[in-house]
């Protein structure tokens, strides 16, 4: 994963996952000045603009697609491009340029990426023309056991839970069920082999808000008939998933939602006028990185509108649960949002860290431990094996 994305995600995760909605152009512009390289933020911004200033949205989708391409996130780049081209029909040259860019930065880490990497130019364009992106709210039942399989759905972002109902074995009265999380770059929909009419053996429900890119069975069949190579790629895609499912723990190891243990944070917010005492606030964060944190302030604080806090310098005291360590650092509040929490209104602020000692940086690095994959796996296993 691209490093800046990793770092910046901690500050803008809530905006990207849809749990916070930004409704001001200026707020977005400020955020993008601070996080210019985050493709997901550009994508959210583009979606925002598409409602208000479609012409400007074209540019935002293009930036998002370019950044996704550079980060090797092929599916996400394709979806941004689909939206861009819906607003402004591309020339043949633009299509070719996108194809070339996509192949330059093509990552082949996961089967879906290998699938897209295998498409030649005409096949990719044909596929994109039939691919329909859509957002699904969290906790939505997408598909139930017994539903007819009509689409293939690629997960662009978010997480879903797939519950598979296994066939009844001899002497069994109840079907065995297994659960698996589907995350970005996974896919679902049993539409292959095309000759077979299948009904779903699974329930699929969204965990978070999810963006899917879907293609109907009939359209995919049509493309494959015209391009037998594509059918081969589809075959490989299903085969790769089958192999992955067979691996031990495959059903429990992945989860996209970034979890963290709540960490207590004390803030001293400095006022504009030096003679005023700093505002002392405390709260918690469950979203923290070396670059910053989003902090949920206690619901009892009367800080007024959150935007009053934006741009203020803060002294941050972070109480890490690891061996009762306290880290002190300086930062700036870069965004704020008033949100309902436990029946009251509270404020979430995004803080960008500015200064900390090398020792504190080392401690924080240790606290933020490892890659997202390592963290997610630990939490996924925790949820599967230990959580009661």
């Amino acid at each position: 994963m691209d490093e800046p994305i990793d770092r910046q995600e901690s500050l803008v995760t809530r905006i990207i996952d849809g749990s916070i909605t930004i409704d001001s152009l200026k707020e977005f512009e400020n955020l993008l000045k601070i996080f210019p390289d985050n493709p997901r933020l550009h994508r959210v911004f583009a979606d925002f603009l598409a409602q208000k200033k479609p012409f400007d949205a074209v540019n935002a989708y293009e930036i998002s697609a370019n950044l996704f391409t550079k980060a090797g996130q092929t599916l996400q780049a394709i979806v941004s491009k689909i939206f861009e081209w819906r607003l402004a029909k591309p020339s043949h040259q633009e299509e070719q340029e996108f194809y070339a860019d996509l192949h330059k930065g093509n990552s082949k880490e996961v089967p879906v990426q290998r699938f897209f990497a295998g498409l030649v130019f005409e096949q990719l364009i044909a596929f994109m023309n039939e691919l329909t992106p859509r957002y699904i709210p969290e906790q939505t039942m997408m598909k139930k056991f017994g539903d007819r399989e009509t689409h293939m759905s690629f997960v662009v972002s978010g997480a879903l839970e797939q519950t598979t109902h296994h066939p009844l074995k001899k002497y069994e009265k109840v079907r065995e069920k297994t659960k698996k999380d589907l995350i970005e770059n996974d896919f679902f929909g049993e539409i292959y082999p095309f000759e077979e009419e299948k009904v779903s053996q699974t329930d699929i429900k969204t965990i978070t808000r999810v963006e899917l890119a879907e293609i109907s069975k009939s359209m995919l069949t049509k493309i494959c008939r015209q391009n037998p190579d594509v059918e081969l790629l589809v075959d490989h895609l299903y085969l790769a998933r089958l192999k992955s499912d067979e691996k031990e723990f495959a059903k429990i190891v992945r989860k996209t939602v970034r979890h963290q243990v709540p960490t207590q944070i004390n803030l001293k917010v400095f006022q504009d006028h030096g003679d005023k005492a700093p505002l002392e606030l405390s709260g918690f964060t469950n979203d923290i990185s070396l670059g910053g944190a989003s902090v949920v302030l206690g619901a009892t604080y009367q800080v007024g509108h959150s935007f009053n806090l934006i741009g203020r310098n803060v002294k941050i005291q972070m109480c890490l649960p690891i061996e009762s360590i306290v880290i002190n650092m300086l930062g700036t509040i870069v965004w704020g949002k008033d949100v309902p929490l436990e029946g009251k209104t509270t404020t979430i602020v995004g803080i960008q860290f500015k200064e900390m000692t090398d020792i504190d940086r080392g401690l924080l690095k240790e606290y933020c431990y490892g890659s997202e994959g390592e963290q997610n796996l630990i939490w996924s296993l925790w949820g599967s094996l230990l959580e009661k």
Partner: protein, 307 residues
């Protein structure tokens, strides 16, 4: 020095190190009871309190004021570790009491730690049990890596699991870094990989090995991989209240296998025992523990399996 320990010496002792990253997971209690059981099984055992920030083994073993500590050896008041061993009430069990702050303040060079580890190997005993401190400082990691048996203790809590994993991850990086100390470019690469912000986008040990292999260093990668393969871990889930909680170690095992390519991890567990908590709080020596205690029995099983 006890003369009887200087006779009939056949081979250096087996060194067991107990670490785990997070404080309060019961490393000291597990070390003490494990050492106690080894001693009861007739193995001459020395428990070394390397918890330099909070040495407490003497209290757990019922020794109020240890007259000699590791500090006395480090400051050369005594010339051998044998000289600073203290007898305990348990037969076959001796203690080297912790020396608060000395190593952590002095931040000894790696070679000094190697010397200390060599001295551990010269102790006249069958087993030397190192109770490491919390955290993942180089001091802790180097002693952990030097041990014949590398034991990680954790509790069924998210922070403990995460810390245990990070402890292992840092130990792997430390081992690779030491291994590559004579190859500056490789060492620089490993250090780069440890930085979460590295431009090479290497996020895990597995990716580091892949990167080295893809960069034409298949032989180097194989050497590093072999070194990791030699890291055989024992993960003990302490304070498990039920069978589900005993899975905590399995999480670390799975993540370490996937991202650190550690193939060999033994999983063991110790039941939660409020009697032990009460004894530690009341500063009652653990060797007085009622032997019907589940935790006590579990650690006996562990000692038997690890021998």
């Amino acid at each position: 020095m006890r003369e009887e320990h200087n006779t009939d010496r056949k081979s250096p002792p087996q060194i067991w190190a107990i670490g785990g990253g997070k404080g309060g997971v019961g490393k000291s209690v597990v070390s003490a009871v494990l050492a106690f059981w080894l001693a009861r099984m007739g193995k001459r055992t020395v428990l070394v309190d390397l918890d330099l920030g909070g040495a407490n083994q003497h209290t757990l073993l019922g020794i109020k004021n240890p007259l000699k500590t590791l500090n006395d050896f480090i400051t050369r008041k005594f010339s051998t570790l044998e000289d600073v061993c203290i007898d305990t009430e348990a037969q076959n069990l001796r203690l080297i009491s912790g020396a608060s702050d000395v190593l952590s303040l002095a931040n000894p060079h790696f070679s000094q730690k190697v010397k200390l580890i060599n001295h551990f190997s010269r102790i006249d005993a069958d087993y030397v049990m190192l109770d490491l401190g919390a955290g993942t400082s180089f001091n802790v990691l180097d002693f952990f890596l030097a041990a014949n048996k590398k034991i990680v203790v954790l509790t069924p809590e998210p922070t403990s699991i995460q810390n245990a994993y990070i402890f292992i991850r840092n130990a792997v990086y430390r081992r690779l870094s030491r291994l590559s100390s004579k190859t500056p470019s490789l060492q620089a690469l490993i250090k780069t990989a440890m930085d979460p912000k590295n431009v090479l986008k290497i996020r895990t040990v597995k990716e580091l090995l892949q990167f080295i292999e893809e960069s034409g260093g298949k032989d180097v990668m194989e050497v590093l991989k072999k070194e990791i393969d030699n890291i055989r871990l024992t993960v003990i889930t302490n304070m498990a209240r039920d069978n589900k909680e005993r899975n905590a170690g399995r999480i670390v095992q799975t993540v370490a296998e996937k991202y650190l390519t550690i193939q060999s991890t033994d999983l063991l567990s110790v039941s939660y025992d409020k009697q032990i908590n009460a004894m530690v709080s009341d500063m009652v020596p653990l060797i007085n523990l009622d032997q019907s205690s589940h935790a006590f029995a579990d650690i006996y099983e562990i000692a038997s399996k690890l021998l």
